[in-house]
């Protein structure tokens, strides 16, 4: 059996809600698994599906997009645009062999440090049994 | 609105609470609601069992839920408040605690039973309130009430902590249902206080004291009878009145009935079909209140 490698999750969080929730989790000393790597964008509406494809191509075991709750976007509607893209993208990503558990969009407000923990923990727990993903280069070699 | 329900009477309704079983069946028949008793149901795993072995208590309870999941009708009616609470608690714990869910799953598998998905645990009172509705109750009630106002007594297990249809601290469904049937009620602060449960048998001095407080406060508020939703409450309040008279020297003799009995009566059922002769306390009052009128007698002949 191969050595169990911890899954690595790329998180793209909006600056105003989910990134702040992650900061709040920190100031509240809420503990969650160290598997996520956060990239900050100003709004979840900035998330280009290319980023997601790139992350999976580079071997991310999961991609988590975090934005403000519907109606709460700092830029009024960016999270809706994100939702529209996510609806189609998750179908495509699934067709390309990425399990549902690996790709999530979650609304986490600045006050929901606890929810951030729940989401991250849940995602890690669901991805772990799926085993590691191979990167494209490993496949083609 | 469903017309067919699975039915789980529970152990008490086969002995001390047999009048409850009779009257619920009679009442439901009058309202065209069909009860299908679960085959080979077992003890719900109530209080006493839970005190010994939690794991298998949940399995016991889950077994009944699983039987209902197998049955045609997923709404499972149980008149006994204790059974109601335990079944609901089992669903809650199975949902929230994976360790308990596993244990239950293993127990069910050993019995070759399916998982307990999609069963809705229901109490007859809540069915009357929600499924039948106050309007229909009003229309179905044909006999005018001849007795004194009634104190509605809910006891504890039905209204907390898993009750989701009525208010936990101040339930009112029974009052509303009786009112719709033309039966007057009094309000009293002890309507959800504990009747003492099995303490009446184990430590009578304590258990019967609790019964005494409830009886006394209901009488103080002007009630001519107490109406319950639970076989144990009915038993405790009914069967020990002689003992209470003896220990307190107070002349307490008040009928303790099931809500299904008084409602069944209002809707025209026969006193015997409702098991009204099975009450111990307040026999004279019961005779007066529930004597069929002359016109009815004639119609019968």
């Amino acid at each position: 059996m191969p050595e169990a490698v911890e899954p690595k999750i790329l998180a793209i969080f909006c600056n105003w809600c989910t990134y702040l929730a992650a900061d709040l989790a920190g100031t509240s000393r809420i503990k969650y698994p160290a598997n996520i790597r956060v990239v900050r964008v100003m709004c979840s509406g900035r998330v280009d599906p290319q980023f997601v494809m790139d992350a999976f191509a580079k071997g991310a075991d999961g991609v988590l997009i975090g934005g403000c709750h519907p109606g709460d976007c700092h830029y009024q509607e960016g999270n809706y645009k994100c939702l529209r893209r996510f609806e189609l993208l998750r179908r495509m990503v699934k067709e390309m062999g990425i399990e549902d558990e690996r790709f999530r969009l979650e609304w986490i407000s600045a006050s929901e440090g606890d929810r951030l923990r729940t989401v991250v923990t849940d995602m890690v727990e669901k991805i772990r049994p799926l085993g590691p993903r191979q990167t494209l280069t490993e496949v083609t070699q | 609105m469903p017309q067919d329900y699975s039915y789980f009477p529970g152990c008490s309704l086969q002995s001390t609470g047999v009048a409850y079983d009779e009257s619920v069946r009679a009442l439901f028949a009058l309202l065209d609601l069909k009860l299908h008793e679960l085959p080979e149901w077992n003890c719900c795993g109530a209080t006493s069992y839970m005190s010994i072995d939690e794991g298998s208590a949940f399995v016991l309870s889950a077994r009944n839920l699983s039987l209902a999941a197998q049955a045609k009708h997923r709404d499972l009616v149980t008149p006994c408040s204790a059974c109601y609470l335990v079944l609901k608690k089992t669903q809650d714990y199975v949902e929230h605690y994976p360790a308990i869910a596993n244990k239950v799953q293993q127990g069910l598998q050993a019995e070759g039973l399916p998982p307990l998905n999609g069963v809705q645990v229901r109490h007859p009172l809540e069915i009357l309130y929600n499924d039948v509705g106050l309007d229909r109750i009003k229309h179905a009630s044909v006999r005018p009430w001849r007795g004194a106002p009634i104190a509605c007594y809910y006891g504890c297990q039905l209204v907390r902590p898993y009750c989701d249809s009525d208010q936990q601290q101040n339930p009112t469904h029974m009052e509303e249902v009786l009112k719709a049937a033309g039966i007057p009620t009094v309000d009293f602060a002890l309507k959800t206080k504990c009747c003492g449960g099995s303490l009446t048998g184990t430590i009578p001095a304590v258990g019967q004291r609790l019964n005494y407080l409830i009886l006394k406060e209901a009488i103080r508020k002007g009630a001519g009878a107490i109406v319950t939703v639970c076989p144990l409450c009915q038993y405790n309040l009914d069967a020990y009145q002689a003992d209470i008279r003896k220990s307190t020297g107070e002349a307490i003799d008040i009928p303790v009935l099931y809500f299904s009995q008084v409602l069944g009566w209002a809707m025209g059922a026969d006193a015997k079909a409702l098991g009204l002769q099975r009450s111990i306390a307040g026999k004279q009052t019961i005779k007066q209140w529930f004597a069929a009128s002359e016109r009815e007698e004639k119609a019968h002949v």
Partner: protein, 661 residues
Amino acid sequence: MSEEIRTGVYTCHCGSNIAATVDVKAVAEYAAKLPNVVVSRDYKYMCSDPGQDLIKQDIREHKLNRIVVASCSPHLHEHTFRTALAKGGLNEFLFQMVNIREQDSWVHLDKPAATVKAMDLVRAAVCRVALHKPLTKGSVPIRADVLVVGGGIAGIHAALTLANAGKKVYLVEREPTIGGHMAKFDKTFPTLDCAACILTPKMSSVRAHPNITLWSYSEVTQVDGYVGNFKVTVTRKPRYIMEDLCVGCLECIEACVYKEGKFVDEFNMGLSKRKPIYIPFPQAIPQVPVIDPETCIDFKTGKCKKSCVDACGERHAINLKMKETTEIIDVGTIILSTGFQVFDAHRSPEYGYGVYPNVYTALEIERLVNASGPTSGEVVLRDGKRPKSVAIIHCVGSRDEKNNRWCSRVCCMYSLKLAHLLKEHTDAEIFNFYIDIRTPGKGFEEFYQKLRNEGVHFIRGKVAEVTDWAFDPSEEGKLVIRVEDTLLGFARRIPVDMVVLATGLEPHADAQEVRRRFNLTCSSEGFFLERHPKLAPVSTFTDGVFLAGACQSPKDIPDTVAQAGAAAAEALALIDAGHVEIEPNTAFVLEEDCSGCRTCIPMCPFSAITFSEETKLASINQALCKGCGTCVASCPSGSIVQNLYDDEEIFAEIEGVLSNA
């Protein structure tokens, strides 16, 4: 671009905040080997002056042209380090911050895993920062006019402070009068000065102040724009009496066909009745009555002899055809002081509110003891009798997972105050039932001591229930408190005549709507969230919007007034600076690449993108763009780019984060 990239990486220990969970030395050593990295250091406190000096010095000595600092959240110190870059002679945007405290050391326990995470994040920043370009901050002018929303003591104080500083203030209040909750109070703790005596002069000053425009009975219904230049729509409900014509003689009320009050008087918490035409209380500001169309006969049937109109006579101040109007104003900053609502005691049914008539809320008692209240200060039960014993139940709706989790902070003190006032008015036996007594303010503990000496009972125990269950003859006709006296260790039954519920404070029912309207965030309990709990307690994440008073969290009058002053000062600081700097993270169209497909245009919530009929291309108005980047992500031909968050920068960050250490 043939410039050689020379990056400096600085990893902060933050005392032991980071160093306890992340092997800071290892991170610094790792960073030193990354491409383009010329200098990599670790330091105890990077945000300190010596820490910043380190950066400045290295920029000079090692000719650094990119800086990465791995420390805390950019929301805390990005500004600090950018300034250090600028002082070191480097463009402040050739910088990237790595959050290894809030999002690493503080949230993980596994030191090796946290260290690897820190390395990943540092590597990502090093990759990204190489692509950074020098940028210049934008600047927008700040309008001097200020909007204050909510006319309680917080709004009043903030408005007066600003107006006294010479700024024009719009004060918008939803009720027919300003004054808020404070206007309903009798005395204020712990000094027991009369609330009206200290509040009404301030209310009058608001009315009289030339710099204040007061719109009562009005609500902000829409907010557009951004810091410096908000466009605010205010909806003014018709009060059916023209404010500019009314002289406040109140003869119309006298003349109403209803000889006596008949409808629930909201100001007196329903303890008295009012007419359809009324003024909330005698000192209301503005001193103008209002007609309630729900209860006025003329509105309901059209058949009233309109004696109020006759009484007004030639002044013609009554206009029954008045319609709702809207005002649109331009302001530079906004102060929100929308206050709180009182917990609805019906939600704690064990205390019998609404069931037993002699169970009152604290606010009802405030009116009852008030000399201008419904009983002229006479404390009597519903049947007119004077209570001989009173129970005050603390923490109703507070510190309770079923209702509100938080401590409402003012109830202990107002309960003590009411205990004192009730004792004074009735000489009744007073029982306080509490879980903990919290008196941490100036003069508060002394007040508590005074109450103990007055013979008020303090029983530590959360009351289990209030019933009319008379178990003992001494309890007949009384309300019976059942409680465990936790200090004495036994259950008690205490019969009383009156029960007072010390109901807690909670956010307004429509706080979520208001929050959205002003683009704010709420903390988990629903109060508006401040930018930083310690360092920016009156600012919000929306620049130019400030908070004052209990809309941010429960607070007493002194704290509210202090915070209102702070909010006013923050607004003044912005106004007097004349302009505010804005992040240069805007998007712009690469004109030679744009195909004019117009996909981007409906993406922009700020209508910053327009399509030029001449060039057939899209273009982004830099003043309107707020930098969300939604258009960038949707441009089908990659012809829109965004400063600080460009595709290539984000790709580099993703690549950096996902390569393995």
